[in-house]
């Protein structure tokens, strides 16, 4: 008998690529199939829609710029939701944290614009992290110390954040003489450089926060798997009791993980407010916080997966706006349907296909072992 023999009763190993690649792809395929059915029902051709979507997302330089610009937001919120997941927490409040983070960016850009670019941008990024982190710290504290459930409190905090931002924009920060709830435009030296400013590319909203997002992916990997903080967060998430016995304080790590999570979500404000709109506006978060949940789920809470999932959702966002132009029965909301179905299949129904697929590979590996 060789080493490959399987002991009776021991779990047969499923190849890693099945878990990491095949299962997510099957879930994705199911979501796309069902989306195709929806497109059929409303009377368009799903294959043609797919073609338009892919061309609209990657087909030409400008489209690619928009895709990567949306990807940036999804990386931020995906990482935000992922670090909370690692700690066993469900951060449904990335949307609100992004709003408050953007508020921090806006305040710095509005009131500290006497400082030069090299100072005001780092301060603005820091403000995004601090404001977003604070907005996540309160529910985290309530979860850790007062036992109130973080899902509910973060939902409530999303609504409170929207009210705070609306109040400030309508009553306080509104541009003098302005009609709509927006602040004045920031001084030009506070703007983040666009890619088309220093590369021969067409004009798109893609700015250097994309690079910042990629750096954060690397930082996230290092933090989670190569530092004590990351280790303690993961232990807390996997087994709070074990963490306690190992001398790790769950409360401390819950609050820490949520502050980092809120800070990451707050960076959406850097991309949107400092990078693209150059003024504080309402609803710049555009649902990115909620989609972050899908990104983290699809990306299996790993930065590489999150980057790929963010790219997928970025492509959907950009390709989807193209769909609305090209197809006669499809409007922009079709993309939301596809997003929702992806969350449904890769999140809520993740256990639907998995056992079948795993059994298939277990059988194959054990029969291969018997032959050997």
């Amino acid at each position: 008998m060789s080493d490959t023999s399987v002991k009776f009763g021991s779990p047969a190993k499923v190849p890693a690529w099945v878990n990491l690649v095949l299962v997510p792809l099957v879930n994705l395929l199911a979501a796309f199939l069902l989306s195709g059915v929806v497109i059929l029902i409303i009377g368009d051709n799903p294959l043609q829609a797919m073609e338009v979507l892919i061309y609209g997302a990657f087909g030409y330089e400008e489209a690619l710029g928009y895709t990567l610009y949306y990807t940036t937001n999804f990386i931020f919120t995906g990482l935000a939701v992922a670090i909370a997941f690692h700690c066993g927490l469900f951060n449904i409040g990335a949307e609100g944290q992004a709003m408050i983070g953007g508020l921090g960016v806006g305040l710095v850009a509005l009131y500290l614009d006497v400082l030069p670019f090299a100072l005001v941008v780092p301060i603005a990024i820091l403000a995004a992290a601090l404001f977003g982190g604070f907005w996540a710290a309160v529910p985290a504290y309530l979860q850790a110390k007062r036992g109130s459930h973080i899902v509910i409190t973060t939902i409530m905090f999303n609504f409170i954040a929207a009210s705070v931002l609306t109040y400030l924009l309508v009553e306080v920060l509104i541009a003098p003489g302005g009609q709509s709830p927006e602040s004045r435009e920031f001084a030009e030296h506070t703007w983040l450089p666009f890619f088309h400013n220093f590369l021969p590319l067409p004009e798109t909203p893609l700015n250097i926060s994309f690079i910042f997002a990629l750096l954060l992916c690397v930082g996230f990997y290092y933090l989670m798997w190569h530092t004590r903080w990351g280790y303690e967060i993961r232990v807390t998430g996997q087994n709070e009791t074990a963490a306690k016995y190992a001398g790790i304080s769950p409360a401390r790590n819950i609050i820490l993980a949520m502050i980092i999570s809120g800070a990451l979500a707050g960076f959406v404000g850097v991309n949107e407010i400092l990078g693209v709109h150059h003024r504080l506006i309402l609803e710049f978060t555009g649902g990115f916080g909620f989609v972050g949940i899908a990104v983290a789920l699809m990306g299996r809470n790993h930065p590489v997966g999150i980057f790929l999932a963010a790219l997928l959702f970025g492509a959907l966002y950009q390709g989807g706006s193209e769909l609305a132009f090209e197809m006669k029965n499809i409007n922009r909301e079709m993309v939301i349907v596809i997003q929702g179905l992806i969350i449904l299949f890769s999140g809520a129904l993740e256990h639907m296909f998995r056992p079948t697929i795993e059994n298939f590979f277990k059988k194959r590996s054990s029969s291969a072992a018997v032959e050997a």
Binding site: I42, G43, I92, T153, F157, F159, V164, F290
Partner: protein, 323 residues
């Protein structure tokens, strides 16, 4: 007397705003008491609102619209049960997914079917529930206080408002005085014990979620065929989450939940009334402050600063039968 009239009108508006909240909160109560987190109330209501408006427009009957709304809401609830009970999926993710799918699907279908920019055509006449005048309402209107209250506040609503009012005692009766209610409460606290007693946990949770779907369907239909006169995109505007907040504020009990809904609805009616009004001492209260109030109150309650909300013990955890 004038202050009294303003008060009655304010309460009248409160009832109209509270109706979908009460129905949705009662719906959420069955789900959550059976141990299934339901943040998908919003999506179920929105789906029902669209279906009710679409069916009512096509058939010309508000009642058929209501049936359509209930059917869609129950189907969505069934999907939630399929994900959370059959496949032990994450309940928050499932509710979230339902909310997002419905938020996208309703305007998509409305756009494709009705060509009015993601809305349904306006409903008129029998397509929607009109207000009922209760007997003697006009006759007693001139009697001070009581008669006026009866004519303005009690009479003159559409049937769904009265259904919502009746739903609270009925739900309370079902939950506390029937075998089904006892089992729902038990399965939310300790599914193992229920299983040991020979009751199938999954069937029970499916049944509870069907009740949730039914009530949510009425709530959604109310929005598009009784309160409003068409489906508009995102017309629930967070009411599902507000109902969830009310449910928690009412500590998962029917009567306190109803009062929480009335309180939240009252703040909403008050906010519409106070817009731009200067109050003595405090000046104009920002609208956004009053809008945020229900959420702030719920957080304070959850934090244990005002009372203590203790959720059903087994909530959020899929029940996996031991073999």
């Amino acid at each position: 007397m004038e202050y009294f009239e303003i008060f009655v009108l304010l309460m009248d508006a409160t009832l109209r705003v509270a109706t979908p909240l009460v129905l949705a909160a009662m719906a959420g109560m069955f789900s959550e008491r059976s141990g299934i987190v339901d943040i998908g109330l919003e999506g179920k209501m929105l789906g029902a609102a669209f279906a009710a408006a679409a069916v009512a427009y096509v058939t010309g009957s508000a009642w058929l619209g209501l049936l359509g709304g209930i059917a869609v809401s129950m189907a969505l609830s069934g999907l939630h049960a399929y994900a959370c009970v059959t496949h032990n999926g994450n309940q928050v993710v499932s509710g979230m997914a339902i909310n997002i799918v419905v938020a996208g699907l309703t305007p998509t279908l409305a756009f494709a079917w009705f060509r009015q920019g993601g809305q349904t055509p306006a409903l008129t006449g029998d397509d929607r529930f009109s207000s009922l005048t209760l007997p003697f309402a006009e006759a007693v209107r001139d009697i001070p206080v009581i008669g006026y209250t009866y004519a303005e506040l009690i009479s003159g609503h559409n049937i769904l408002v009265y259904i919502a009012a009746a739903a609270v005692p009925i739900c309370a009766y079902i939950l506390y005085r029937t075998r089904f209610g006892l089992r729902v409460r038990a399965v939310g606290e300790n599914p193992h014990a229920v299983d040991t007693a020979g009751i199938v946990v999954s069937h029970l949770r499916y049944q509870a979620l069907m009740v949730t779907g039914f009530l949510c369907g009425i709530a959604g239909s109310y929005l598009s065929t009784a309160h409003g006169a068409a489906f508009i995109r995102d017309m629930t505007a967070g009411k599902g989450y507000l109902a969830l907040a009310a449910l928690i504020f009412g500590k998962w009990r029917p009567v306190p939940t109803m009062f929480a809904c009335l309180l939240f609805a009252f703040t909403d009616a008050l906010q519409a009334r106070l817009q731009g009004v200067d109050l003595p001492l405090v000046g104009a209260i920002p609208v956004q402050f009053i809008q945020a109030l229900p959420y702030v109150l719920t957080v304070l309650l959850l934090a244990g600063f005002v009372g203590k909300a203790i959720p059903p013990k087994a909530i959020g955890e899929p029940y996996i039968k031991e073999r």
